[in-house]
């Protein structure tokens, strides 16, 4: 039987506020345990939550960036359950009236086509703390630094039909939340994480199959693997005559398996009700328009502009606009290079991206500034250096040896464009390789490459390749 996969994602984006959603404690990552938990975060008797309006602004930004409805009135609700890292015995979240309602965004599939994915809602909530198992004497420690960190939970419609589509959607959300600067997008630190609802159904069937919720997916790779694994498992279960049960499953990256999780409470009744400690969040049209006016250019608009202004292919434009720092870097390179948009695109998405990737570095940590790279490309464009020498210069700039001009100067890498000098080299090569000359003249064109290589080698790569070609052709003919 042919199966169709149905996937919906719940993405938790940690909002990049300085302080927590309901207290003044810092949200900075990595502090010693429980040093960033104030009396409110600890859930001491008598404390009360006060909403951080920065988080509200960020949620509005997200709503606008995804063409979603921004609710004029939303309500915080308590989700009640007991767990040691949940200090109050309830999580403040939003249930019936979330701050962001329905919306949609486009994802680009591998074949270049575009698919619309629905957003059901996005709501504000506080994160829980962390339970640190296996501490001293087998005890479990509680770190409440993370408790009260603001999260935006973004719930999609079950619109995705493969793990690849799920990844494309997740990357798109990642790109949007980082573009609009509401989330640092750091998946290792858990600032951007995802639960996936996965089910399968026979192709052509309307109603959905029973879904399983996959938890703990904190990298794009894991999401893809876990979904594929779960799809296989569900198909095996059904084809083996069994039934998929609705449950929460944990993805274990080390063992490469998903397994049923013990539920946090025996009965899963969260007894939601509006939090009487917080007023409903009222957002007027003026506030929404003020946020809209300050929205940065979004990925889709930037992609269109890159294609238009820089005459880039949609592939190039897609790669370069995938993150805002990358796009900003690219534009700065073009500016410094004084044009050469295509050449700049090749360098940014080629050598630069490749080296960053190899070194596991973020573009923000790149030792070669956009100005330096642009300056180098300028030298390629004005024939001071060849593309090949440029690779050498790039390497030197990466190592901190200065900008392109000073590397060219100190290493004497200036391209040789003096026709006389190149002719001398060519004459030498022709004189020293009579056999190859004979071959060429008898019609073996392929051997031409050999001569080019020899000349370039003799010039230590500095000879202008176009000139070398021309002179070689002329001399070999005679």
């Amino acid at each position: 039987m042919e199966w169709e996969v149905v996937i919906g994602l719940e993405i938790h984006a940690q909002l990049a506020t300085k302080s927590k959603i309901f207290s003044g404690a810092s949200t900075a990552y990595g502090a010693p345990a429980n040093t960033q938990a104030c009396v409110v975060d600890l859930g001491l008797p008598g404390v009360l939550p006060v909403l951080n309006h920065e988080a509200v602004q960020m949620a509005i930004k997200f709503g606008l960036a995804t063409n979603s409805e921004v609710a004029q009135r939303s309500v915080f609700a308590r989700k009640n359950y007991f767990y040691p890292d949940l200090p109050k015995g309830y999580q403040i979240s939003q249930m019936e009236l979330p701050i962001v309602g329905e919306g949609a965004l486009d994802i680009r599939l591998e074949d270049g086509s575009v698919k619309k994915i629905g957003i059901t809602r996005a709501h504000l909530e506080e994160d829980a703390g962390k339970s640190l198992h296996g501490g001293a004497q087998g005890m479990t420690g509680i770190d409440l630094n993370r408790a009260g960190t603001p999260l935006l939970e973004i719930v999609s419609e079950p619109d995705m039909r493969s793990a690849k589509e799920a990844i494309a959607y997740m990357k798109k959300i990642h790109s949007i939340v980082t573009y609009i600067d509401i989330c640092d997008g750091n998946m290792q630190e858990g600032s951007f994480r995802c639960d996936a609802n996965v089910s399968v159904r026979p192709k052509g069937q309307e109603e959905f199959g029973t879904r399983a919720e996959l938890k703990n997916l904190n990298s794009f790779r894991f999401v893809e693997r876990a979904i594929n694994l779960e799809v296989e498992r569900q198909i095996d279960v059904i084809e083996g005559g069994g039934e998929v049960v609705q449950e929460t499953r944990l993805y274990d990256a080390d063992k490469h398996e998903t397994r049923a999780m013990r539920s946090k409470e025996e009965a899963n009744d969260y007894r939601y009700f509006p939090d009487p400690d917080l007023l409903p969040v009222e957002i007027d049209k003026e506030t929404i328009e003020a946020v809209r006016a300050n929205l940065p250019e979004l990925p889709d608009a930037k992609l269109q502009r890159f294609m238009q202004d820089y005459a880039l292919s949609d592939y190039d434009a897609d790669v370069l606009t995938s993150t805002r720092p990358m796009a900003d870097y690219y534009e700065a390179v073009v500016k410094s290079a004084g044009g050469e948009a295509k050449l700049c695109a090749n360098w940014v998405s080629g050598d630069l991206a490749g080296t960053l990737n190899k070194e596991s570095m973020d573009i923000k940590e790149c030792p070669v500034s956009a100005e330096m790279l642009g300056g180098m490309i300028k030298r390629i464009a004005d024939n001071t250096i060849s593309g090949k020498i440029a690779k050498q210069i790039f390497e030197a700039m990466w190592q901190g040896e200065g900008d392109a001009d000073s590397v060219i100067e100190s290493k004497g890498l200036k391209q040789v464009t003096d026709t006389g000098a190149i002719e001398e080299l060519v004459d030498d090569i022709i004189a020293n390789n009579p056999a190859q000359v004979e071959q060429y003249r008898s019609g073996k064109d392929k051997v031409f490459g050999f001569f080019v290589g020899q000349v370039m080698k003799a010039s230590q790569g500095k000879a202008n390749p176009a000139q070398v070609n021309q002179i070689l052709k002329d001399k070999l003919k005679s």
């Binding site: 008598g46 308590r78 007991f82």
Partner: protein, 484 residues
């Protein structure tokens, strides 16, 4: 000294008749000798009180004193007090020393008031007789075989027994007004949001409100001046200016319209209490007020509505008492579930458990609409009753409680009868309105109170109305024989 009102003490301190240290010492001595009879205090903070009194004396000497500087006060043990045990009347918090001060406490500290100690209360403010306290029942100073009312029973008894000139209480369904009535003192529950709830251990967040418990309306005005105000740490606190509540105390009541809800004078009311209230109304007519019969047709829904809303909120509010971070933890838990079950099972008393269970039930899937949501709708109806009434009248009057103080143990095993002792006070909480109880007579030698309910943020008028009555009556000046 102890027979002076707060305002008289304030004047005497300023005039240098005695020092705050002498005054504080005198109250501490009274507490030491007399409190064992009433059990009003859970904690007496003797040394901090003397330190605060010494500081107040310096402030008075420097001419920087306000009306509450150097005044000894008793604080309900529901307010978090830094470095001092804050129990909320529960075994659960018997070991809890708060690391921070409630906003109300901060206000009193800034004013230079002296905290004598923390007063006994029904466990987590759940009770109408002060019998649910882990620290034992408080006794009514007018008859130590009777209850003082609750949940602010310790605060009421402390003022009635002259163990403090004034105290603080909190009122979720009548917990300031009902004990004030039963102990013959003046109690004011302000409009919801008038006094910050920050640091006040939550029972039912949408109903809880702190207020003063004093001998006179004038003293209540002085206390409220200090307690009221917007607090950025409480999202439900009202962003509006605090008037000087003493400013209008002496205003004439000529032309005041008093509404008498017929539902407050029905068969559930003790006939003698009814007569006393009617006598009080006649005094008001003598003072120039007009009386109008009104109807609050949804009055009968107040108690059932309250007993869904309050338990629902408390079931969630009390979840933080889990034995993990503070408070009572059971011995040798074998696993997490055991830790939760036994810490909460052993740490909470029966009434608290009963309400948590009612509340969890009312909020559970499948019952939410029928109970919690329905209760919210009824709450709106009850508020609308008052809204209509205040279009016609300035204040509403009636009995505070259906009868005088009942015997210790008399209703302890009958929760429904117990719950009905708040039948006249609960509606003001559901609507968020301010309400007062002022001493208005005696029934069988036990004091009873007149309740005055006002419109939103109309505390000034309530205090004015109460004060003028106290100028022509002396019920509020009476003291129980052993505590004179």
């Amino acid at each position: 000294m102890h027979n002076k009102t707060l305002s008289e003490l304030s004047a005497a301190l300023q005039a240098g008749e005695f020092s705050s240290t002498e005054l504080t010492q005198s109250y501490l001595e009274r507490i030491a000798s007399l409190d064992p009879q009433v059990n009003a205090f859970v904690t007496v903070t003797e040394q901090p009180a003397l330190d605060a009194a010494a500081a107040a004396d310096r402030r008075i000497a420097a001419g920087e004193a306000g009306p509450l500087t150097g005044i000894p006060l008793a604080q309900k043990d529901i307010f978090c007090t830094e470095g001092v045990k804050t129990t909320c009347g529960s075994k659960m918090l018997d070991n809890f020393i708060s690391p921070y001060n409630a906003t109300v406490i901060e206000h009193f500290n800034a004013a230079g008031a002296v905290m004598l100690g923390k007063t006994n209360m029904d466990e987590f403010a759940m009770g109408s007789s002060n019998e649910t306290s882990f620290y034992g029942a408080v006794k009514n100073p007018w008859d130590i075989n009777k209850v003082p009312g609750g949940s602010s029973g310790g605060s009421a008894a402390a003022v009635a027994a002259r163990l403090a000139p004034a105290s603080t209480g909190t009122d979720t369904g009548g917990s300031i007004r009902q004990p004030a009535s039963l102990c013959g003192i003046t109690g004011l529950k302000p409009t919801y949001g008038r006094v910050s709830r920050y640091g006040m251990i939550a029972f039912a967040s949408s109903l809880d409100q702190a207020g003063p418990m004093t001998r006179t309306a004038e003293d209540a005005a002085l206390m409220l001046n200090c307690m009221a105000g917007f607090d950025g740490r409480d999202s439900t606190s009202a962003q509006r200016d605090v008037p000087d509540y003493t400013a209008n105390l002496a205003n004439s009541l000529e032309g005041l319209t008093i509404g008498l809800p017929k539902e407050y004078f029905d068969e559930g009311l003790d006939a003698q209490v009814g007569s006393a209230v009617e006598a009080a109304i006649r005094e008001y007519e003598n003072l120039g007020a007009k009386v109008k019969e009104i109807s609050l047709p949804n009055t009968h829904l107040a108690v059932p509505t309250y007993y869904v809303v309050a338990p629902a909120e408390c079931s969630s509010n009390l979840s933080r008492f889990d034995g993990v971070r503070f408070g009572y933890r059971c011995d040798d838990p074998v696993d997490l579930e055991d830790l939760y079950k036994r810490s909460r099972g052993e740490g909470f008393g029966a009434e608290v458990k009963r309400r948590i269970m009612i509340g969890a039930y009312a909020l559970s899937a499948g019952y939410y609409d029928a109970y919690y949501l329905k209760a919210q709708q009824l709450r709106r109806l009850i508020s609308d009753d008052f809204k209509r009434a205040f279009e016609e009248v300035d204040v509403i009057m009636g009995p505070t409680a259906p009868g005088p103080a009942f015997g210790l143990g008399e209703k302890a095993d009958d929760p429904i009868t117990m719950y009905l002792s708040d039948i006249y006070t609960i509606a003001a909480n559901l609507a968020g309105l301010p309400g007062m109880s002022v001493p208005a007579g005696f029934v069988n030698d036990m004091p009873i109170g007149l309740q005055i309910i006002g419109n939103y943020f109309d505390e000034s008028r309530l205090l004015n109305v109460a004060h003028r009555y106290q100028q022509v009556t002396d019920w509020h000046t009476r003291a129980p024989e052993q505590f004179k």
